[in-house]
Structures are given as structure tokens and as C-alpha cells.
Amino acid sequence: MISAFFIFNQKGEVLISRLYRTDFKRSIADVFRIQVVSNPDVRSPIITLGSTSFFHVRVNNLYVVAVTKTNANAALVFEFCYRFINICKSYFGKMDEEAIKNNFVVVYELVDEINDFGYPQNSEIDTLKTYITTESVVSAIQAPEVSSRITAQATGATSWRRNGDDVKYKKNEAFVDVVEVVNWMGSSKGTNLRADVDGHIQMRAYLSGTPECKFGLNDKLVIDRSTVGLSGPSSGLADRGGSDAVELDDCQFHQCVRLNDFDADRSISFIPPDGEFELMRYRATSNIKLPLRVIPTVTEIGTTKVSYDITLKTTFSPKLSATNIVVRIPTPLNTTDVDVGILGTGKAKYVPAENVIVWKIPRLQGGQECSLSAMAQLTSTTTRQVWARPPIDIDFQVLMFTASGLIVRFLKVFEKSNYHSIKWVRYLTKANGGYQVRF
């Protein structure tokens, strides 16, 4: 298990150092600095020297590092690092050198609490915030009864939620954000090499007491099941859902979701943590609706010029629009200058430092298209190097659209006080770094 935990800044200075076991001295940090921080060519997040292994995760120029001398569970170690980063973000609003240095005492308290002897312990943010706070807590004042309640929660079956009586809202609301990251790789011949969706359902629950939630999607398996069950004419909803139900390849849930229920009848039931959390993640690969089509024509004219004709089309309904579109079109390394012309909207410029033409379109309505044509001038080089032709990359966002076709059918909230709650659902499909076409 984890023997030591460190945070380094970019220079390799130690910002946090916690040894959980006596098999290392603090000087082990120097080994990491030499092997990883000062090494320009680190090719693995895990480095093993002799019997000692270093696991590291980089975040905003910080290194979060766990060290072990055992055959540690590598997935667990990385998940622990991720969790630690999330806790810091939630506590300090951000995770960078400044945040860690300004709050190092709290960080030490956290690090002592969420890991004991190298074994990760309760790390639910909501619970942690009840007893590890940035304000001073006078131990004499904190009543044992309060503490007992905290400990019961930290070790209990719903460790992610404070005791029901402690959570009160005037207005009971729940916000559901369905965020889909769509990945696409198109071949130069115009075919789809792969298209898939990584979906996340974020929830912000501001619900009093201990609410019991039921959540329903247009999951094909559920719809099919209910259609079989209600074979009468009354199953209008199920029929409607059946036609555009989505097939999910896989779902993964927050700790709060009862997996046994899901396994039995694919129902998603849970008592939510208070505030923001990721309820579920899913993956879909069938019938992906690609919101943007890119048709590139790139021709190398001799060895001195490359001509580009790139057309962008939106495929969704005209009521919606794609925003913040950024198209990055690679140019050869020996490009001297690029002439760009645009038909339609947007601005484009050549960025020599990155060898790309960046084409930005603030907004493009559904059913529209626009295009760019450009000519790159190349210097003659003595050695004929083959141009790697990295793919064209497109980033964008489309509100109220899901590439998988997923729809939230219902969110029901049951609480013993039987209050009325308001639910909001938003959809967002976006691409960042994974929507690409080769040419």
C-alpha cells in the first residue's frame, strides 16, 4: 500500500510530504525529483526503481505522487490521487501551487484523514466538510454528540450524505446536466473509423432531508422490458420511447446508486449526496448522431504548396446551434505563410508556433454550412521529410442536443415530509480534442 504521499511543484519543490510508513525517509522525494520532475522524457505515470514505485498524476503543473514498496493496487493508487485532487478543488476552489500553499495545514489534515497507513479511507467530500474545516474548531466546544453523528456518517451506509435533519432547503431543487463528450475519427476517405460518446450525468441536488430518488432514461433495455410488460394499447409512452431509445454500452454509477437494483431491473435509485456530484457515466457507440460534418480536401502541390478546402456542416435541427467552434488544421512544419479565405462565418489565422491554422466560429445554426480555403507556402528543404499529416481537430458545443440520443425520462424524489421539488434538465454535447478527421 501507499507508503508516502507528496505534492511537488513544477520546480520539484515539496509542498506536502506525508510518510504513512517507516520504510521511507523524506529524502525519497529527491529520487522522484531527479527521476521525474527533472527528466524531460518521462514515458510512464509509474516508475519503479528497485522495489520502490512512484505513481504520479500531473495537475496544473503540480505532481501528486504516491510512493510504495509493495505490489500496490495501481488502479486504487491513481483513483486515490484523482480523489485527492477533487477534494482539493472542492475545498479551495482550484488545485494549484497557490491553493496548496495557502491551505497546507488543512491539506495535512485531509491527507491524515483520507488515508491511514496507506489505505484510503472515507473520502466523501460532503462528510469531510463536516469535520475538517478551514476555520478553527475548538475541540472543547465540539460536543461529543455532534462528533458521534459525524463518525456515524463517515462509517455508515450512506457515508456521502449528512444526517437528514441537517439538510434543509427552503426551495427543493435538483438540476440534472447531461454532458456528452463525442469522439469521432473520420478517415480521409470519408468513412467513420470510430464514433462514440462518453456521457456524464452531473447532478446538483438541493433537497432537504433524506430524499429517495428514482431516475429514468430512455435506456433501450428498460424500454424494451416495459414494452413487453405493457403489451396493451395503453403503452403509448413506451412505444414512443422504444423508437428512439438508446443502447448504452456500459454504465457506471456513483457510490450512492444501488447496484443490485440496477442489476435486477436497470432502475437507478439512490439517496443523493448534498450538492454537486457525478451520478453516472455511460458510453454509447451505436447510432451516434454526429452534430458536425467536416469535409476536407487537402492537396500537396509539388513540394512548395499545400492547398486546403475545408467545409463544415451542421446536421442538427435549425432550432439549435453549435457554439465556440474551433477547428485546428495542421500545416507542414516548413510552412512559411498561409493565405486564408472564409466563406460564411468565423475568423481564421495561421499560428506558426503550433503549425496550425486556427479557425474560430462563434456560432453556427443547425442545417448550415461554411467553408475555408487556404494555401500554405512551404520553404524548400534539403531533406525530403514526410509530413505526418496529423488529423484536423474540431472542438465545439451544442446545447440541448445529445449525440447518443439519450433523454432523461423522469427524476422522482420521495421524502418522508413529502415536499414538492423542482427538477431541471439540461443537455450539452461537446467535443474537446477527440473529434478528428484525417486527410
Binding site: L49, S53, N73, A75, N102, N103, D116, T133
Partner: protein
């Protein structure tokens, strides 16, 4: 609720004297203890920066009287850092500890035992013992779960003392606690103790295993991992037990934490060895695929762990992810370690149906920037040709196109794999030899050069100017690496055998034999030179037969790990060992090895290839001397080990295997019955060869040269224990 901290200013190196003075000053007048808090923060910052603050021990301890939790925690942090080095002063704090151990606040009680157990010196552990015994039965679950881990700490400090104190039994009782978090921590602590070489043995029986399973839904995600992991300590006696257990844990595959998923998969893979129900096995295999793919949407670090594990899993259970090769196509901006891992999986999943797609991808990668990646992509094209006969034509064409690019490292890689393709499909592709010969000058790496030379020698009869080409290559004979020299030696001898009438060939072989035997320092080269020379002198015809004897064809069957080695390695799914594809005991000192345990329910094939747990072995290439106390027999062990690890002649290996199979009680009736069911692809008859289990790739037979050179691996172990201590 959280106001932004402003503590960055404390990250300044300070002097011991100053801090001491400030602490004293604070004693006089310190409203709300602000001053003391400030000084302590400075001290903690200095500890972080690596300044030795231990001289302040008595002064810092004074602050414990302050009724402020924040100050208490900082003092405790100080004690954890320096307590061990101050055995003569630690008694100053014991009363405070004891008082906290009996505090009414459970958080304080837990904090006290947690901190005490971090200071493993006799004075403290003595004081802790009684309190810990109470804490293990505390009414508050938070204290109990903390106490459980304390036992592991106590045990690691002094195993015998912890045993004498009856703590192991108390821990065992905690496994039946009503609180799931307590159960999980008790399991974690017992597992740690059980993994020690000098620890008590930790096994689970069916009843306990079932109790633990019941705690999973209420456990935290980490607790679930500890419990799932411990299931490998339960050996099913009946197929039904294993099957029931698998059905109960399979829901955990839907958990959002990747470590829960991988640990569940580890447990499932383990239990499958004891199952009989083919349908259930297939179902589990089907269920494992999607969560594994989903792991590829996690952070790159977890993706990497997942990919390395997938590579193992698909070798053992080929139906898993069989149709999912596309998800392993590399993204342009994947980190290099992910790309390399994906490439390996793409090759494994390639078959006639998807070979075209895979090849198109590999060709794409061959024009990318990263050298290692491009090389591996080119080699993969060659391996694909060897693996999938239907794709061989297209692969050869792709390789020829790549050679056309004249990019040196691409050409070199291509030549290396083409040599293997020639061996795989004799008489089919020799027509491309002229294209290769055009690029001889581009080859400057030993492996590529040696491959080209092998081709020249082997096909000297159909290459018109083979003698000239070899002659050119011989100009630098004495400067070449041994690999190239050996290749040249053999190639010139082959040339001579083919063209024994030609003066040039005669002249050339004479020259090379002379160099090899008279000028070379390398004994292998010299020996081989002498051998050839004598053979040629005694009977050239027989020499020809020997030198040009038919080579065993290259197949990809040997290109996968031994079933037995895989079974063993998969017991470490998700851990470091699974990332490196090495059993932990081979690269981590004192690591616990694992082996499948025999039971009436164990699948007959698994039993046949079962690798019994070897005693602690260290890598043969880098013997590590273990300093300090240990079993006395240790000193004699390395010698016996090195002899058993050394490659032994094949006859001996066979003997070993026979002995092993005889000694295993295999009920014949069962073998035949389960044989039928196991004849599906993932349970195909395993190689019975008991390969050197230290290296799962040992049966690769070097067919792919240094293909695996870029495998992730632990860096060479430090040779001397002294050096180890010096560094860490």
C-alpha cells in the same frame, strides 16, 4: 464555508532558535492562541521543506495543553515526523495521548490511537496496547475502524508482540462487525498481515467469505476493494460455491471507481478457475468487456493500468473484447505510453475479419512523429503478416511502401520484420529481396543490419550479387557489434556453401573465418568461427546440410504467455505486477507471491499447468543481497536459485514436467469430463511446458527479436543493499 487560506507566506526557511523564542513568547500572552498557531504553521512548513525541526521537540510538545483542535493536529503531525527519533523524550506526551484515548469525543479518541500507532517505538506501543484493545471494542464504529488499521501498524512494528497481545484474534472478530467500514478495514489489516512472510496465514472459509460479501453494498468504495481483494484468499471447494460468489459480485462492475472494477474482475477471473457452468463463464466474459472499455474514458493513468491488464485478460479469455478492436485505435493526442499499450492490444485482437482495418490504422501510425511508436507500428505490421495469413499480402505491400519513404528508422524496422515474414511463408515473398537490397546503405542499427545479412546469406543462391553485397558489409567487420559479426560469419559460410566454386565466395569466407578466429575477442564468435572452419574442412557437404538445414517455421502460437503463467499473473490484476506483466515476488523485495490453490473444484487444465508458489525469488539478473535479519537459510539460497533459474537443457525441463504431473493427484474421471467443456477457445489445451516462470515471455523463443524491448519494466534493481539504504 471555506475562506481562502493565506498561509503561503509561511513557506520560508526559519531558524530553530527563532521558532523556539516565538513559542516561548506566545506562552505569555496569546489571545485565541493565534501566535502559537502561527509559529506551528511555520514549523510544519519547514518540516515540509525538509528542514530538521526535531530540536524543537520539547517546545512543540508544550503546545499540547492548548484546547484547540487545529493546534493538536499540528503537534501530532510533528510527533509523527519526529517521535521515532526521540525515544528519550516521547514520554512527555504519553499522558496527553492517554487522556485523548479516553476523550468523550470519538474523533479525538481515534486521532489519538491513530497518531500513537504511527510512532512505532516500544514506549509508545506499550502505552497503546491496552487502549487499542479497548478501541477495538469501542462503541463508536469510527474508532473501531481506526483501531483495525492500528493493529496492522502494530504488527508491522513488532509481529510477535502483536500476536502475543491477541490482536490478530481481535481483528478476526472485527470481520464480523455490524459496521461495513469496520469490516473492510479489518480485512485490509488482516490482508496486510497475511502478505508478510513472517505473518500469520490469512484464509477465508465459505461462511466468512459470504459474510464479507454481505458487507460490500454498505462499504465505501475503498472498503469494497479491500473486501473484493480478500476473496482470493477463499478457495472454493465446489463449483457451485464459486459460481454463486461470482454472481453476487458481478454487479460491482457497474461501479464508478476503476479500482473497484478491476478488483472485481480480478476476483471473477480467479473464481472462473473453479467454475464448471460454461454458460455462466461466457456470461461473465461478456459482462467484463464493456466496463473495461469504459475505463478508457478515465484519466490517462488509469487508462494505462487498464490497457496493460486488458492485454493479459484477452490472452487468457479471448472472447473478452473480441469484437472491440476499434476502441483500441490510438488517438493522435494519446500519451505515448497509452499508444504503445494500445498497439499491443490491437495486434492481439487482430484476425482475418478485422485485419484490413487494423492494417490501415498501423499504416497511419507509421507516419507519426514519435520514434518508438512508429517503430512499434512498423513491427506490428510485420507481426500482423505473420499472425494473419490472409492479410500477409497487404502487409507486405504496406511494408514496401514504407521502405519507399526512405525514412531510415522505418526502413530498418521493416527489414527486421520482413526477415521473419520470409521464415513464416517460405517461397512466397522472396521476390521483394531486390527492394531490400537497394536500401542496405540505410541500415546502421545492429538488429536491422543482422537481419539484412541473414537474408543475404539465406537467399544467396537467388541474389546475383550476394557476394558483392556481403563483401561490402564485411569492410567494417571488426568494428561491428557481435550480433552483426555473428550474422556475417554465418552468411558468408552460407554463401560459400551455395557458391563453393566462386573464387570470391571462397576468398570472403576465408577472410571472415580468419578474423573471427584470430582477431575477435568475443568467445562466441571465435567458437562459432572454429566450428564452421572445421566443418568445412572435414566435410563441406555435411557442413552445407547443417548450415542450410530447414528452420522451424515461425508461428504466433508461441507468441502468447503460458497458460499457467497467465493464471498466476492474473491473480495480480490491477496491481503493479499486472502493469509490468511480472509476478511481484520477482521484482519487489519481500513481496508475496500468489498461486492458484488446488481444490476439487479447480478446473483440470488450470491444475495441469498450475505453477506452485516458488520460494521468494529475486530477479536472476540483478541479485539483491538482503541486508538485515532474515531466515538464516537465505544465505545459501541464492546459489540453488541461480542454478534452477539458468536455462536448462530441454530434456531436463521435460523431466521436471513429468515429475510434476505425476505428483499432482488428478482424478482421471474428472479430467475427461471437464475436458470436453473446456475445449473452447479460452480453455484450449495449454502448453504443458513448465517454462521458467520468472519470465512469462520466456517461450517467445526470440522470434521477434527485441520486439519487447520497449515493454514497461521496473528499472534494474540496485545491486547493493547499502546503496539502497543510502538512497532511501
Amino acid at each position: 464555508m471555506s475562506q481562502p487560506g493565506q498561509d503561503a507566506k509561511f513557506f520560508q526557511r526559519g531558524k530553530i532558535e527563532e521558532f523556539r523564542a516565538e513559542l516561548h513568547a506566545a506562552e505569555a500572552k496569546d489571545k485565541k492562541f493565534v501566535k502559537r498557531k502561527t509559529v506551528l504553521k511555520k514549523i510544519v512548513a519547514n518540516i515540509t521543506m525538509g528542514t530538521d525541526m526535531s530540536p524543537l521537540f520539547p517546545d512543540v510538545v508544550q503546545c499540547l495543553g492548548t484546547p484547540l483542535l487545529e493546534i493538536k493536529k499540528m503537534v501530532y503531525l510533528f510527533l509523527v515526523s519526529y517521535g521515532r527519533s526521540k525515544p528519550d523524550q516521547i514520554h512527555l506526551v504519553i499522558p496527553n495521548f492517554l487522556q485523548d484515548c479516553n476523550d468523550r469525543n470519538p474523533l479525538i479518541r481515534a486521532l489519538a490511537i491513530r497518531t500513537m500507532s504511527y510512532i512505532p517505538i516500544p514506549v509508545v506501543t506499550e502505552a497503546l496496547s491496552d487502549n487499542l484493545r479497548h478501541a477495538l471494542k469501542d462503541r463508536d464504529p469510527y474508532v473501531r475502524k481506526t483501531a483495525a488499521i492500528c493493529v496492522a501498524k502494530l504488527y508491522s512494528a513488532d509481529p510477535r508482540k502483536a500476536e502475543r497481545g491477541g490482536f490478530v484474534e481481535l481483528l478476526r472478530d472485527l470481520m464480523l462487525d455490524s459496521n461495513a467500514t469496520v469490516v473492510a478495514n479489518a480485512v485490509a489489516a488482516l490482508s496486510e498481515i497475511g502478505d508478510r512472510q513472517d505473518g500469520v496465514i490469512f484464509k477465508l472459509n465459505l461462511a466468512t467469505a459470504n459474510k464479507l460479501l454481505a458487507a460490500i453494498p454498505e462499504s465505501s468504495e475503498w472498503g469494497q476493494i479491500y473486501i473484493l481483494d480478500s476473496l482470493l484468499r477463499y478457495v472454493p471447494e465446489r463449483h457451485a460455491d464459486a459460481e454463486m460468489m461470482a454472481e453476487r459480485i458481478i454487479v460491482q462492475l457497474q461501479h464508478g471507481n476503476s479500482a473497484v472494477i478491476l478488483t472485481t474482475i480480478k476476483a471473477l477471473l480467479y473464481l472462473m478457475n473453479y467454475m464448471e457452468n460454461r454458460q455462466l463463464i461466457d456470461y461473465i466474459c461478456k459482462k467484463m468487456g464493456p466496463p473495461l472499455v469504459t475505463l478508457l474514458s478515465s484519466g490517462p493513468e488509469v487508462q494505462y493500468v487498464a490497457l496493460r491488464n486488458i492485454l493479459l485478460i484477452i490472452q487468457r479469455r479471448p472472447t473478452v473484447l473480441k469484437n472491440d478492436v476499434r476502441v483500441f485505435f490510438c488517438k493522435y493526442n494519446d500519451p505515448i505510453y497509452i499508444k504503445l499499450a494500445k498497439l499491443e492490444i490491437m495486434y492481439r485482437l487482430a484476425r482475418a475479419e478485422n485485419a484490413k482495418e487494423v492494417l490501415a490504422e498501423l499504416q497511419e501510425y507509421a507516419s507519426e512523429v514519435d520514434l518508438d511508436f512508429v517503430r512499434k507500428a512498423v513491427r506490428s505490421i510485420g507481426r500482423l503478416a505473420i499472425k494473419v495469413e490472409a492479410a500477409a499480402d497487404d502487409c507486405i505491400q504496406a511494408l514496401l511502401d514504407l521502405i519507399e519513404t526512405k525514412v531510415t528508422y522505418v526502413v530498418q524496422e521493416a527489414v527486421i520484420v520482413i526477415k521473419d515474414i520470409f521464415r513464416r511463408y517460405p517461397g512466397k515473398y522472396e521476390g521483394i529481396i531486390p527492394n531490400l537490397c537497394e536500401n542496405i546503405d540505410a541500415l546502421d542499427e545492429p538488429e536491422a543490419k543482422a537481419s539484412m545479412i541473414w537474408i543475404l546469406g539465406q537467399y544467396a543462391s537467388i541474389i546475383d550479387n550476394a557476394d558483392e553485397l556481403l563483401d561490402d558489409l564485411c569492410y567494417t567487420f571488426l568494428e561491428e557489434s557481435t550480433e552483426v559479426q555473428l550474422a556475417l560469419l554465418t552468411a558468408t559460410v552460407k554463401l560459400f556453401v551455395y557458391k563453393s566454386r566462386a573464387d570470391k565466395a571462397k576468398e570472403l569466407v576465408h577472410k571472415v573465418l580468419k578474423w573471427a578466429t584470430e582477431e575477435a575477442d568475443n568467445p562466441d564468435l571465435r567458437d562459432r568461427g572454429f566450428m564452421y572452419w572445421r566443418m568445412l574442412a572435414i566435410n563441406p557437404t555435411v557442413a552445407g546440410e547443417i548450415v542450410l538445414s530447414e528452420k522451424p517455421p515461425i508461428t504466433t502460437d508461441s507468441d502468447r504467455m503460458d497458460r499457467g503463467a497467465l493464471d498466476q499473473l492474473l491473480l495480480h490484476t490491477g496491481t503493479l505486477g499486472s502493469v509490468y506483466h511480472k509476478n511481484p515476488e520477482t521484482f519487489i523485495r519481500n513481496a508475496a507471491g500468489k498461486a492458484l490453490k488446488d481444490s476439487p473444484a479447480l478446473n483440470a487444465h488450470s491444475r495441469a499447468v498450475l505453477i506452485p508458489l516458488a520460494r521468494t525469488q529475486l530477479p536472476s539478473m540483478a541479485p539483491i543481497v538482503v541486508a538485515g535479519p532474515g531466515p538464516t537459510e537465505r544465505s545459501t539460497e541464492p546459489q540453488t536459485q541461480s542454478s534452477s533459474v539458468a536455462p536448462s537443457p530441454p530434456s531436463k525441463t521435460d523431466d521436471d514436467t513429468d515429475l510434476l504431473t505425476q505428483s499432482q493427484p488428478v482424478p482421471t474421471s474428472q479430467t475427461s469430463s471437464s475436458n470436453d467443456q473446456d475445449e473452447t477457445e479460452d480453455d484450449e489445451p495449454p502448453h504443458t511446458r513448465q517454462a521458467n516462470n520468472l519470465d512469462p515471455y520466456s517461450n517467445l523463443d526470440n522470434a521477434f527479436g527485441s520486439y519487447l524491448a520497449d515493454e514497461p519494466r521496473p528499472m534494474a534493481g540496485r545491486r547493493h543493499a547499502e546503496e539502497d539504504d543510502l538512497l532511501f
